[in-house]
């Protein structure tokens, strides 16, 4: 059984999805979705444990030997990302039960869970596979289901937001498949480990460089790197709350993983940093993303949009770590994948609680909620502090490594910009805090009461994780550092 764990990681949600669609019962579908999500977490944790102790796991799908057949290849890097995705799924799935009942049309709920499970399956598939075409297949699975999930938002504008995402996402996916095709033309292989061996021979060819460019643009669209982020704010703002919490903490993270996997494992760090100057391309984009998007976030009045812009800024941090082209920088990137998932998950879930009770997350509608919904707003405050990077929260840990990476390169202006951006984050978090705690409540008496525990427990589980991994980051930092070393040194034996 345990030898099949890599494929089970994908098969469990893939099989659960049609069951949900066929069962046509909202409650039963919810239970299946929760159980499937928890199962993926158990599998991911056990994979991470195996990889930490025993090294790379290679699984030949259908016993077709790679590079002919599809290989699922788990090393410490994707085991880590699997844990991130499935952790968030495990926290969001129980939250969905209550939140989705409120926000999605009842007859569509089983289909909603089917789409959610397909999305989860796609994200896990992208991560676990060792075959580049397989990446594209899973990318399409996760994207198509994501468009459907976003379109189920309560407001009509969710449809345009989903359509816009669909257009941009398809352009991105097309770029990626063109890049993969060019690689195949040059090497005759689709297996990642195989490609990594074959590619250095054809480094000089223009086709490889063009493939690199197509892939780069495609990934940056998917991970919403400034200025290719335009699809993200509306998609996050108008999707159902639970979907926003799930997507914001997983989809972009997996896209960052794809970028790292293709550019560092397949092309290799020497090619990316030496020949293509990836670091010098990404550094200015990341810095502009961090500063400009934090500034834009300050002026948002819809708190979900505010957090969405903050996400674009935070993606800047992850890309910034990559642009340092060092183990410390990559450690920061990989840590921030996890840490940002925890904080944004918690924040969007807290906003979901607010939507559940008062139906809006306009900053004026949140006035006085500090007293009316103390647990929800306390979760928001703690998540917000983590976003700012206050010590003893996870946000501080990733910021620490990021600044350390910048100073290692001697780039102290970068360190200053990162720190000033934290102050900007403080400003936009503070605007919400001030509305919630310092302004009187203006809504109806019966409406703004504390959210039900079914929403609060999953939210606080993530808040707790924010604090726990902020106070004790030894393990997470260890895993991230080892993963960063794997990425920098290329494919292992």
């Amino acid at each position: 059984m345990s030898t099949h764990l890599p494929v089970l990681q994908v098969v469990v949600p893939l099989l659960a999805a049609p069951v949900c669609a066929l069962i046509r019962n909202a409650r039963a579908a919810a239970v299946i979705a929760v159980l499937a999500s928890w199962a993926t977490l158990a599998i991911a944790l056990s994979l991470l444990g195996d990889v930490m102790s025993a090294g790379v796991i290679s699984y030949a799908l259908g016993d077709w030997v790679p590079p002919i057949g599809i290989e699922y290849r788990v090393d410490i890097v994707n085991a880590w990302v699997l844990v991130i995705v499935s952790t968030i799924a495990s926290a969001v799935a129980p939250y969905m039960i209550t939140s989705v009942e409120d926000e999605v049309e009842r007859r569509r709920i089983p289909l909603f869970y089917a789409a959610y499970l397909l999305c989860l399956c796609g994200l896990l598939g992208i991560t676990v596979t060792g075959d580049v075409f397989n990446v594209f297949v899973f990318l399409e699975i996760s994207s198509l289901s994501a468009y459907a999930l976003i379109a189920m938002g309560t407001r009509r504008r969710a449809l345009t937001a989903a359509f816009r995402y669909l257009v941009m996402g398809s352009v991105g996916a097309t770029f990626i498949v063109i890049g993969i095709g060019l690689l195949y033309v040059m090497t005759g292989s689709l297996n990642m480990a195989d490609l990594a061996v074959l590619l250095p021979e054809v480094w000089d060819s223009r086709t490889v460089k063009v493939a690199y460019g197509f892939l780069g643009v495609g990934f940056c669209l998917k991970l919403a790197l400034f200025p290719l982020h335009l699809w993200l704010p509306n998609a996050y703002a108008f999707a159902p709350s639970a979907v926003t919490a799930f997507m914001a903490s997983t989809a972009t993270k997996v896209a960052v993983y794809m970028l790292l996997r293709f550019f560092l494992t397949i092309f290799g760090a020497p090619f990316s940093f030496g020949v293509m100057a990836l670091d010098r391309v990404l550094l200015p984009l990341a810095l502009v993303a961090i500063v400009s998007m934090s500034l834009v976030a300050i002026f948002q009045v819809d708190v979900k949009r505010l957090l969405a812009y903050s996400s674009v800024a935070q993606i800047g941090y992850m890309v910034l770590g990559l642009s340092f082209a060092s183990v410390t920088g990559l450690t920061a990137t990989l840590l921030h994948l996890f840490n940002h998932a925890l904080m944004k998950g918690a924040l969007f879930m807290a906003m979901g609680c607010v939507v559940y009770r008062i139906g809006s997350v306009h900053i004026d509608a949140m006035a006085g909620l500090g007293k009316r919904m103390p647990w929800t707003m306390a979760a928001f405050v703690l998540g917000g502090l983590s976003l700012v990077g206050v010590p003893l929260t996870v946000g501080f840990v990733s910021k620490w490594f990021l600044i350390l990476g910048a100073l290692e390169r001697g780039w102290w202006p970068v360190a200053v910009i990162v720190l000033l951006a934290s102050v900007l984050a403080l400003v936009y978090v503070w605007r919400v805090v001030e509305a919630a705690y310092f302004r009187p409540y203006e809504g109806d008496e019966g409406v703004g009461v504390e959210a039900p525990w079914r929403l609060l427990v999953p939210t606080w589980a993530l808040v707790g994780a924010n604090l726990y991994f902020g106070i004790n980051a030894v393990r997470t930092a260890q895993v991230a550092e080892r993963a960063a070393e794997v990425l920098m040194t290329g494919v292992g034996p």
Partner: protein
């Protein structure tokens, strides 16, 4: 013991919350906690003065960066002052908060206790990271105290307060800390400094500047605006937090960084701190000049604090043993002097409803004890015998001469004269000035004030007796410290023996 010093105030906070229905029990819990904390700090003092360095690791958030406590002489000095003055301030608060009919008193005592716990964390921090953590926690826990009144003005002040303190600490101080870590690979406080021999050239003055400005609580200009803004808080908060705990946490951090991160020998040899000496000197003079222009009593005291804090910074920047000793002594002496002045300002506000200096004429004849205490506090701030303040001024002067900076001695003298002028105006006006006719104040509280204003002390409501006891304690302490500065001097010479 170190763990207890953090745990006791937190447990005290829990008790305060439990006893919120019964104000007398709640205040008793506050007092008992304060007393217990002081007893614990005394035991730490005993251990440290015998050469011990008790330490404790709380957690390890990032590999190689533990959240750790370690007691060393400088920290003990700060902890002693803060915990002792917490007892006194609690006594004072009982009188003031009730006499002034403040709302939300439980929240007040609760966050006061949390703030003291974070001060203990700052005092006993074993490395820069821990110091930074508790420094930030202190900003957060004092925020509800600053905005206590809940008015629009208080909220605005709160925004300035957190804005400046967070911005400087995140943008400058944290940068300096990570930079230090990138250079040395450690953040532990060590005798002789961790940067000694690791860094050289232009990095050192820049890094030191990042620390001095990044520690916004030290209120070095131009990052001093938060301190006058914070004066909207109730007077006990201004007294303990903004004359002792918060601002002293700032200058304490500066001193600690100077001594244990850079090392004074290293700084002296590099000459890296000279430019900051003059920044501090400018703050000293400008702070005094601004204080002159303020008619509001608390605002005048706030700018006086801005000026006086830079004495401590100056002493640290002198980078020799006399400077550091003077600096540490000034943390203690200014604490006792300034808290006395704030206590008096609060008593005047509660008993006579006066907050402006120009209204104080003749009030001293009705409130002789308060104004006498104010006189003693003034002497200590100015640095005249027979008060403790004269010692720290003396050592700072010696340190300036040893650093070869005669100009700084002149700055010290001029600023002493300035502070003499703007502070002495108050007791002089009180005792010899003309009353402005309508004694007993005005407005809604007028009859209440005058009805209570003539019982046994001749000038204050009965509940203010607690406050009067506090005022007498700290002003007497100012005098005692002139005769017996020994404990503080000994601790400081353990830090930087001449």
């Amino acid at each position: 013991m170190l763990g207890l010093s953090l745990a006791v105030p937190v447990v005290g906070a829990g008790l305060i919350l439990l006893l919120r229905r019964n104000p007398n029990a709640r205040e008793a819990a506050s007092l008992v906690t304060a007393g217990a904390l002081f007893a614990i700090v005394l035991r730490v003092y005993a251990a440290v003065s015998e050469g011990g360095r008790p330490s404790l690791v709380l957690a390890e958030p990032i590999p190689g960066l533990p959240l750790a406590l370690e007691a060393e002489p400088l920290g003990v000095l700060f902890a002693l002052i803060a915990s002792f003055l917490w007892i006194v301030t609690t006594m004072y608060s009982i009188g003031y908060m009730r006499g002034h009919h403040e709302k939300n008193q439980t929240r007040f005592y609760l966050f006061f206790a949390f703030a003291i716990a974070s001060v203990m964390g700052v005092a006993f921090a074993g490395n820069l990271f821990t110091l930074f953590v508790f420094y930030e926690v202190l900003s957060l826990t004092t925020f509800p105290l600053v905005t206590h009144a809940g008015t629009e003005k208080a909220k605005r002040a709160g925004r300035v307060y957190l804005g400046i303190l967070f911005t400087t600490s995140i943008a400058l101080q944290l940068l300096a800390i990570v930079w230090t870590y990138a250079i040395t690979g450690t953040l532990d406080f060590q005798d002789g400094g961790i940067l000694n021999g690791e860094a050289a050239g232009a990095v050192v003055p820049i890094l030191l500047g990042l620390y001095v400005f990044g520690i916004g609580k030290a209120a070095v200009m131009p990052f001093h605006r938060w301190l006058p803004a914070a004066m909207v808080a109730p007077t006990p908060v201004s007294a303990l937090l903004h004359a002792v705990a918060v601002v002293k946490a700032g200058v304490f951090a500066v001193l600690k960084v100077t001594v244990y991160v850079f090392g004074i020998d290293f700084l002296g040899a590099e000459g890296a701190s000279v430019w900051l000496m003059w920044v501090a000197a400018a703050t000293i003079i400008l702070g005094s000049l601004v204080a002159f222009t303020k008619d509001n009593l608390k605002a005048r005291l706030a700018y006086s604090t801005v000026s006086q804090l830079s004495y401590v910074v100056l002493g640290a920047m002198l980078a020799n043993s006399w400077g550091v000793i003077g600096s540490g002594m000034h943390i203690a002496m200014h604490a006792f002097g300034k808290i006395t002045l704030f206590f008096c300002a609060g008593a005047i506000m509660v008993a006579a409803h006066k907050s402006e200096v120009s209204q104080l004429g003749g009030l001293g004849r009705r409130m002789p004890v308060t104004f006498a205490a104010f006189f003693i506090g003034t002497l200590s701030i100015v640095g005249l015998p027979p008060t403790g303040g004269s010692w720290s001024k003396w050592f700072l002067g010696v340190g300036s001469l040893e650093a070869g900076q005669v100009g700084l001695v002149a700055v010290l003298m001029v600023s002493s004269l300035l502070s003499l002028a703007y502070l002495m105006e108050i007791p002089l006006k009180g005792f010899f000035g003309k009353a402005d006719g309508q004694a007993g104040g005005h407005g809604g509280h007028a009859d209440h004030g005058s009805a209570d204003a003539h019982d046994d002390h001749g000038h204050a409501p009965a509940i203010l007796r607690w406050s009067m006891a506090a005022i007498v304690t700290t002003s007497v302490a100012c005098v005692i410290l002139f005769v017996y500065p020994e404990p503080f001097y000994r601790l400081m010479s353990m830090v930087a023996g001449p």
